[in-house]
Symmetry: C2
Subunit: 460 residues, 2 copies
């Protein structure tokens, strides 16, 4: 009973903070109408009578948070257009639209798309095909208008619950589906709110989630994914809305939901800030840990974050695997990146191993493998010992890489090859950083990041 | 073809070495007859008319090696006797028999049994019950006469093959079923020779063995053991003749059989000798390996080897597990023991770990375990960090045991408790030996043993 009252009170307090004001709403509405009018006007001038502007995004569905100034407008073209026609026409239109912003940026990768800033709003203008359903898309973005329609038709009064859930997720650090975060997207948050019926019910159910939880709103029963959470897209049965959600963020949400329900508290809605570490404090921390930190620094490839981060993560992972394969004990790895510099960090128990390595070979009854193992190590001058332990051949041999630094130096190009842009940058040049080099990094954001990595605490 | 000739030649050469001479045979036969006559005479004098002496062992079945001076005589009593009567009568008889030897030793544990030395022979005198079959024994030793009979009835001309096989096993270090060796017993060697039909055929088949090979001579199909090799005892369907064979010795035999058949060679029949390591050579070896050796030395409990060694091995294993559980990297462990001193050795990559330990907890959805893990580590002053990685809680905490020595000192009594005699001895006092202490050991046998452990080579 008290908990119920607590929850209601917290709800009201959070809503006061996250609900957009009437002035905000009016401002956004005005800018949005202006942009749509501009699109229609320019299209007509260019003889493009077939386009239809579609307002999508959280603003359109009343699930946007106070202070958020994003406007997403899709410009739909008839499905029948060839890609060539589509590209030609849409680029021409976007080129004129760019001039209507206070500033603009061409963000197209394979798909044409521009971002403009206009009267304080961040506006995405994205051309798409007007397809029949979310399951029959022609380009990756064609699904978005269907998402928007689905939410508008089904949200039925739960808009404020979405606002509270989004703010809760921001507070605990699991909101945002970009690769760097690996958290919950806005659409996923809305689907969960609809499915479970409100903020508290999402939390109550999430507290009971296990890996491979499946949520199938439209009863498609089509998905058998390996993802931690499977939420079948009601507009496209083949798609998992939660595909980008990492296991860590999924698990964090479960833990925080359970903890919040036990002791509801406004603190959950504010992201914990880690102050920057000073050089001295960092040195002290590392002294206390007694571990060894190595950094691999290189120029940040000039790519979108969602292109860059998967490559950083793969590089980080491959460095960890390389070190573990060579018997170094890796405690933690993480990737830092800003506009100019990217650094992969690896924290180890030690960076030097003894000259002797014990290599366990195949079982004696695996004759062909046994033969090549024996050929490689048996009766060699440099072999310390060669024996049989239980069912295996065992060779004690000189270790090839005694230090992590030597190993990384020798193998980095092979391992970095996993991502094209990172590989090219590393090939241009990299620096192997030890404690002393790391300490000299001058970047407040970096030292906040490092503080969080070294002293993370789940709170409250 | 050449291989066949090689094999025949080697056979002949080895037989010349291992076949007992006629003089040897006659000598043994004389002593054996004398002992049996003594038993019958003394029994009669004591009014024990129901005993029957039974000659068992390899001498009886013509499968004894030149230079082997063992005689095994069982003294069988009627099955109907109570254990009390059996003990009383047999002890009385053995007491008199002891006097017929040049020297004697009471070796009884639960079972009465004496060992005498007589005219250069090592004689075991073992009382037993005269039961109906090997499957209906009253005491553990009652099976032996059936083994002897079975071999005598089935060996049919393969006696010399047994000799060669035994010598081969001695040469490669897998002969002997005592716990310390964990190799092939004489009876097992004979059964294999009968089953496969001769020395070369045993090797040809063993070269193809895999773990859990089953040999069921008498088609009992009764055994489903976890042992590497299962040889159903033809005289007792419930018994695995190869129960004492370790996986290491089983695998060694497979490897050596395969290797010998590829390139037959007399060297296989001579056990490789490792010369004793000098203090200087040991220091050099350890310097080259760059690893850390720790020894735990204590007084050898005055027990039979087959009682002592299982306890030593269990202690060794428990020390390894203790260290591994506490994140030390154990490369090798081994047990040394002579009449006065026993030492457990543990070779590690390092004996000191950093102050920080990373502890991976339960998955977030395992609520009760999660709760106790969080309670233990979350929001504690001494916790470095507490976070979620993938589906697990992870705490970075101060390490309890930073050095192997401290860990061993604190935990040794708990771990040594696995074997009564070793535990009692360790409790009386033990010494933790480091490199410098180990170097000071004055014992040639020890330094041969250490040389074998550190520089073992499977040859040829």
């Amino acid at each position: 009973m008290k908990d119920e009252i607590d929850l209601i009170k917290i709800r009201e307090e959070i809503l006061l903070l996250v609900r957009p004001t009437d002035a905000e709403k009016m401002k956004l509405e005005t800018v949005r109408q202006q942009i749509i009018a501009d699109i229609v006007k320019i299209a007509k001038l260019q003889g493009q009578f077939e386009i239809i502007p579609i307002s999508v995004g959280s603003a359109e569905r009343n699930t946007w948070l106070h202070g958020n100034h994003d406007i997403d407008i899709f410009i739909s073209y008839p499905e029948e257009l060839t890609f060539e026609e589509f590209h030609e026409k849409s680029r021409k239109l976007l080129a004129e639209m760019a001039k209507t912003g206070d500033s603009w940026e061409d963000r197209h990768s394979e798909h044409p798309y521009i971002h403009i800033q206009k009267e304080g709003f961040e506006v995405d203008l994205v051309p798409c095909f007007r397809v029949k359903s979310g399951a029959e898309i022609k380009s990756a973005v064609d699904r978005t208008p269907f998402h928007c329609t689905f939410i508008k038709e089904n949200i039925g009064g739960l808009e404020e619950d979405v606002l509270i859930l989004k703010q809760f997720m921001k507070g605990i650090g699991v909101y945002g589906s970009e690769v760097r975060t690996g958290g919950f997207s806005g659409y996923l948050t809305e689907i969960l709110t609809i499915y479970y019926g409100g903020f508290e019910n999402v939390l109550r159910n999430a507290a009971e989630w296990k890996a491979r939880t499946v949520i199938d709103l439209a009863k498609h029963q089509t998905l058998n994914h390996e993802h931690p959470l499977v939420v079948v897209d009601p507009t496209d049965p083949k798609r998992n809305v939660a595909a980008a959600l990492s296991l860590t963020k999924f698990s964090t949400f479960i833990d925080r939901a359970r903890s919040f329900l036990k002791n509801p508290n406004k603190d959950y809605f504010t992201k914990k800030e880690y102050p920057p570490l000073s050089e001295k404090k960092y040195a002290e921390l590392m002294e206390m840990r007694g571990t060894k930190m190595v950094g691999i620094s290189f120029k940040t490839p000039q790519e979108a974050e969602d292109t860059l981060y998967p490559q950083l993560f793969r590089f980080e992972k491959s460095m960890e695997e390389l070190l573990v394969r060579n018997e170094f004990t890796v405690l933690n790895t993480f990737s830092w990146s800003d506009e100019t510099e990217s650094i992969i960090f690896i924290e180890m128990t030690e960076t030097e191993l003894p000259p002797l390595q014990k290599r366990v070979g195949p079982p004696v009854w695996n004759e062909s493998n046994a033969e090549s193992f024996c050929k490689k190590y048996k009766n060699k001058k440099e072999t310390f010992s060669f024996s049989i332990e239980e069912d295996r051949y065992v060779a004690e041999i000189p270790r090839k890489y005694r230090t992590a630094e030597q190993l990384i130096t020798d193998m980095i190009f092979k391992e970095a090859a996993l991502g094209r842009h990172v590989r090219d940058s590393v090939k241009e040049g990299y620096t192997l950083m030890r404690e002393n080099d790391i300490r000299k990094i001058q970047n407040i954001e970096f030292w906040k990041f490092m503080n969080e990595k070294l002293t993370a605490q789940i709170e409250p």
